[in-house]
Symmetry: C2
DNA sequence: TTGAATAATGCATTCGATTTCAATTTAAAA
DNA sequence: TTTTAAATTGAAATCGAATGCATTATTCAA
């Protein structure tokens, strides 16, 4: 079923059919009506691919996601998809586990002529961003900054969130800290670690030890277990994300026989669903996922409409959730 | 950068460029080499959209997902995406929360000319399947059967998995059961409930009470709490999925002060990551997500290549995981 | 060396809609 | 009723690659 078929049945030209289906174009009510009737009869729907080819707009946005197992991403992905689809834009989903796959992935993205990209991934440096600029494809990064390169970014306010978190822990009497960080390759991990250490230092708490995991539950468990082999238990463990914090709590309780929070405070970051399960009831900083998804889509689509709009970094405040996993 | 540009630089025809980029077509090594050199120089990549238009193949598969918050889906989605991308097929992601949005979603799918559909959703009846057949778009359903309508399906073997689970519980001395089911609108919930009840009955255990939730953590908690208001604690709760089971355990421990598994056995179904966290260590039936994702993609792509292949239902065995959430 | 069979190549058409431009119709103003 | 401006309309070009067909170049056997 093509627009020509509809045109024949409706007794108008093919151009008229096309115009009838695009809003705001010059068609008389009578013609439009004839076209729509014929279209309904033939069950005609305009072919999106032909439209993409001629308009040079695909109506698709690539969403690139690493480690979907990080539980913050499913919800984020869902929200982003909803936001985009309310603007009549589709999501082309790419997963990216290894940095090595990036080159191939970028080729795919060019050939598919996506209108824009939302990157929920760490495997993206300023060179990659530059390549998108060459192709005039706007990109929005999530919780990620590229040093020395202005880029569209949506970030949770780590500074503000971690300040509140650290203040709360110190006020609760915690003095001997351990920071359980994500890997040093991760900007988010580095930022969270450095900021947490800085705020501790402002309370006069220095030389705080750091153990490194990979954001996973298992690494939270293992890192804490390894630490406890050679050290006394700290008062509090500040984890880079909720998943590690949950691993740490499980290890503390079941592996080390420590009571949380009586003998050990544990905090997370993100506000994943599981953090609020009563078995954990994590003290954590919640990312405003809805607003962040909306912000990412808003920023992106504004640049899609108008490519000359300069890059923007939008920082959204997180909210401290006072659970029962930490003395406070 | 179009194939014409490359053709000019390489000193060949546009057809030659096209042929150089498609495998198995008749081009001499010399021509191919000239084309590739020119393509590299111009940084040319074939335009996927133009290709779609002429070949009538989009190289995209629609994945429709409801309730991404069901923790089995993120992993599944990730596996499916990997499987598809290894076949050089992209994922167009759609979320579908309300049945009402389905009509609009289907329109989108037609216009985008996807090569196939993988449906991780309950909102799909045989009428919808029939419409896909009309459009010659193959569909694979996940853990879902459409009565009286042959359809491509990948299912975990509920029968076998639940038999093992029930046998284990009975062998462990559990006699007084409660079934915590997902909603009756859900086929999966119905199947799991009915099969569990049947197997209990084979052990002479009849008239087992059922409470209904909606697969969510909160509903697991709430249902169990509500049940305990008017009843004595059962020996064991068989839940329709892991998330409800986790909710049930949290309510049992923190709300009702019951020891799991000493005073209450709780089992789940699915094998989500959180089920294996030591805080829960759920006895559950694990879906072989990798194989199921692969099976779904295999079945789908076979029908994409050859639309006359008849529908197939593939049932994969789950594996019983004996955690410490149930006496056994 | 010749002829037949095969491989390589280019021309021109095609996919299905959008859009410019010129022609025509309609509406409004005089 | 005539003139002018505005709104509709259709013809034709366009987006960028794939491909059937006819032509030319190559290979191999005789």
């Amino acid at each position: 079923m093509t627009s020509y078929d509809v045109a024949r049945v409706a007794g108008v030209s093919q151009s008229a059919v096309s115009r009838a289906f695009r809003p705001g174009l010059s068609v008389s009510a009578k013609t439009k009506d004839k076209v729509m009737k014929a279209a309904k009869k033939l069950n005609y729907k305009p072919n999106a691919i032909a439209r993409m080819l001629i308009t040079q707009r695909s109506g698709m946005v690539a969403v690139i996601i690493s480690s979907i197992s990080n539980l913050i991403y499913p919800e984020l992905l869902s929200r982003i998809t909803d936001q985009l689809s309310s603007r009549d834009v589709r999501v082309l989903l790419f997963t990216l586990d290894e940095k090595e796959q990036l080159a191939e992935l970028l080729d795919q993205i060019w050939t598919f002529q996506v209108d824009g990209v939302i990157a929920l991934t760490a495997h993206f440096d300023h060179e990659d961003i530059a390549r998108f600029e060459e192709h005039n494809i706007p990109v929005v990064l999530y919780n990620r900054q590229v040093p020395d390169h202005p880029a569209n970014t949506v970030c949770v306010d780590h500074e503000q969130g971690l300040k509140q978190l650290v203040d709360l822990l110190v006020a609760g009497g915690n003095r001997r800290f351990l920071v359980l960080s994500g890997p040093t390759e991760s900007d988010v991990a580095n930022e969270r670690r450095i900021i947490a250490l800085r705020h501790l230092s402002r309370h006069g708490i220095d030389e705080v030890p750091v153990a490194y995991g990979d954001f996973s539950y298992q690494s939270g468990k293992d890192c804490f277990a390894r630490w406890m082999k050679d050290h006394d238990a700290p008062d509090a463990v500040i984890c880079s994300n909720d998943t590690m914090a949950i691993g740490c709590i499980d290890e503390a309780r079941d592996g080390q026989g420590l009571k949380v929070p009586e003998e050990l405070s544990v905090t997370g970051f993100d506000g994943i669903h599981a953090a609020f399960w009563t078995g954990y009831d994590l003290t954590t900083v919640r990312q405003p996922v809805n607003q962040m998804a909306k912000a990412a889509v808003d920023i992106l689509m504004e640049r899609v409409e108008n490519p000359t709009v300069p890059p923007e970094k939008r920082v959204l405040a997180g909210s401290l959730f006072k659970g029962s996993s930490a003395r406070s």
